[in-house]
């Protein structure tokens, strides 16, 4: 099972097919996230990533979306159930990629232009069980649920967002931070995070079959 490293830092595996980018992120995480985030492994394609993740059981995997061997989604799909969480880190901000990756099971999606401190923050947030939504991602989510983006898979069963969840997503899309959203809507930050994870869940579940699996995984059935 995934455990934090002895010094309490979040254990991270870096998956990207560009060695230079891996080196850059590693250096940046070492600079901005010393003691908070620790890179324990790297992989350059889907097969290697699956192996490394299975061996090291990191808490968070920074996952490139475009990856030899079927992309980041393939890594998440072939991963046997474990506590490992995925944060997509991609240069692509095409709607299909973003929504597809979130539906594949990623807990957040950030683009590669993100700064070091922001990335550290995103990693710790994902490790803490929250979802990381950038304004752009929130925009895609609103678009996806409004039906403007064609989500390729069957969406007849996709739940709609509640009014409150839509409200939260709008504020995130407008560039509000979680605590500003909380202040604006007179709710607690915890509630904002709950809304975010339920949006995420609604995005990831495309069929009753998956919903059943989700519920039984959490001993709700």
């Amino acid at each position: 099972m995934s455990q934090p490293s002895p010094n309490g830092a979040v254990r991270v595996v870096l998956v990207d097919d560009h060695a230079m980018f891996r080196a850059g992120v590693r250096a940046e995480l070492a600079a901005a996230g010393a003691g908070v985030v620790e890179v324990v492994g790297e992989a350059a394609d889907a097969d290697a990533a699956i192996k490394v993740v299975a061996d090291l059981q990191p808490q968070v995997v920074l996952l490139d979306v475009h990856l030899p061997g079927g992309g980041g989604v393939e890594v998440m799909r072939r991963q046997p159930s474990s506590d490992t969480l995925y944060l997509a880190l991609s240069v692509s901000d095409a709607a299909e990629d973003v929504i597809g990756t979130i539906r594949g099971g990623a807990r957040g999606y950030v683009t590669k232009t993100i700064t070091g401190p922001e990335l550290v923050d995103a990693i710790t947030r994902v490790a803490g069980g929250d979802a990381v939504f950038s304004p752009r991602l929130a925009g895609f989510v609103l678009d996806a649920f409004a039906g403007s983006i064609d989500v390729a898979a069957v969406d007849e069963d996709l739940d709609r967002l509640t009014e409150r969840e839509r409200e939260v997503m709008r504020l995130i899309a407008r560039g509000y931070a979680y605590k500003e959203v909380a202040k604006e809507l007179f709710i607690s930050v915890k509630t904002v995070e709950t809304h975010m994870s339920s949006v995420l869940r609604k995005l990831q579940l495309s069929s009753r079959h998956e919903l059943t699996k989700w519920a039984s995984d959490r001993r709700l059935l």
Binding site: G70, L142, S148
Partner: protein, 435 residues
């Protein structure tokens, strides 16, 4: 909510002009994608089409016949669906998730099996165990399997970027046990059908079996060769279009290559000036990102396009990063132009006064109204304390919006940043929208 947007003119999925044709939708196929393609063509829910096929299948297999016929004759729709080059390239090199068969889910497979079983039982119930029945079923199943494989191989041939057509690949596609199994099973079924036919019918009379066998052979040939010829004609046209597109793309790639190299050279020369470097990198990044990942171009004909163009302009002129997020889109009519101007003014204010280098622009476009929010995390100010002679916000934003039937709100507090909210109801007549 009134979010059901009609397909607007800039929809990236819009097909080139010409007569509307039906395609098989190979991206969401259960068997051959006929039902989903037909549903898209007729603009009805795909469930209805599937129910239609299943229901008419009970009429002595009529639905099955229609389905098989359409499968054979409808061209696959995904052949030349143009996506943006970055996504296409990543798909070609296997860096994105590929098409996944929905038959992985046991549901449709069980339903199809049950349907087939029912048809067999129904047939036997009506005609008794006729001598010709099983050979025909086996033969048809064999042909269907071979066709399925030919379909797959053809699709993979289009995805293949090498250009040459390897005869092996033309038959087996990318190989894999599924392809081999399909071909072996198909051939096996046909041979079995012939043997069963010979055994069952061979003893009766001589003339009839020969006649039937000959007819079967002819029918098989027509089924296999006819559509192939039709498709060849189709493919030739498509191939020509693809060649033109490839050349265009090569030109574009060369152009971008130059622009990237130029920018990198500039960055090297200006490496001491971090503002300049950041600006160059940002503008180049926006350029590339736009080209690689966004199928729709930022033309100023739509509101989202105009906002993005506005952001790009201001990023170049002022040292500020503008993130534009849009939900929905609509054509940029005269009534909506003030919104863009007001938003521009708001971003300029961020660049000049807020003391931050970053602005978030969020636009939500629904059928009823357009809402644009411009937010920064800069120094902020006390709205009530602004001197009466300062005209920027009041004139360019609040009054401008009010003059054109909209509303503008400025919310700001010292140290918390500023948010400008623009609201404009949409009153445009629908026919004007769809122009």
């Amino acid at each position: 909510m009134s979010y059901a947007n009609p397909p607007h003119p800039t929809s990236p999925r819009s097909r080139p002009v010409g007569p509307r044709r039906a395609y098989r939708d190979t991206s969401s196929s259960v068997v051959g994608g006929v039902a989903s393609g037909l549903a898209a063509h007729l603009a009805v829910p795909v469930l209805w089409v599937r129910v239609f096929f299943v229901a008419t299948a009970l009429l002595q297999g009529f639905g099955l016949m229609v389905y098989a016929g359409l499968w054979v004759f409808l061209p696959a729709g995904q052949g030349f669906d143009v996506s943006s080059p970055g996504l296409e390239s990543a798909t070609r090199t296997g860096k994105r998730p590929g098409r996944r068969s929905r038959l992985r889910d046991a549901g449709p497979a069980i339903a199809l099996g049950a349907l087939l079983f029912g048809v067999v039982l129904g047939f036997e119930g009506i005609f008794g165990q006729g001598a010709l029945f099983w050979p025909v079923v086996l033969g048809v199943a064999g042909v269907a399997l071979l066709w399925r494989q030919a379909d797959e191989a053809q699709r993979e041939r289009w995805i293949d970027s090498s250009g040459r057509i390897d005869p092996f690949r033309a038959v087996f596609g990318n190989g894999g046990w599924a392809a081999y199994a399909r071909i072996a099973a198909g051939l096996g079924l046909i041979v079995t059908a012939l043997i069963v036919f010979a055994v069952v019918a061979g003893q009766v009379t001589f003339a009839l079996p020969v006649l039937v066998a000959g007819l079967l052979g002819l029918a098989g040939l027509a089924i296999v060769v006819g559509p192939w010829v039709m498709r060849l004609v189709d493919d030739l046209g498509a191939e020509r279009a693809e060649r033109v597109r490839t050349q265009e793309r090569a030109d574009m790639a060369a152009h971008l290559h130059d622009s990237v190299l130029q920018t990198l050279a500039l960055i090297q020369k200006n490496s001491h000036d971090s503002t300049m470097v950041a600006r160059l990198a940002r503008s180049q990044e926006r350029d590339l990102r736009q080209w690689l990942f966004e199928a729709d171009t930022t033309d100023a004909a739509t509101l989202a396009g105009a906002l993005k163009e506005m952001a790009a302009d201001l990023e170049t002129d002022h040292d500020v990063v503008v993130d534009v997020v849009t939900v929905g889109d609509c054509p940029l009519t005269e009534e909506l132009r003030p919104v863009v101007h007001a938003a521009r003014e708001a971003v300029v204010n961020v660049a000049k006064h807020a003391g931050t280098r970053r602005a978030d622009v969020f636009a939500e476009i629904s059928d009823a109204a357009v809402d644009v929010f411009v937010r920064d995390r800069g120094s902020g100010f006390d709205v009530d304390a602004v001197a009466a002679d300062r005209q920027g916000v009041r004139n360019s934003i609040v009054d401008r919006m009010a003059r054109h039937g909209g509303r503008a709100d400025v919310r700001s507090a010292p140290d918390e940043g500023t948010e400008v909210r623009l609201h404009m109801p949409r009153t445009a007549a629908p026919d004007e929208e769809n122009r």
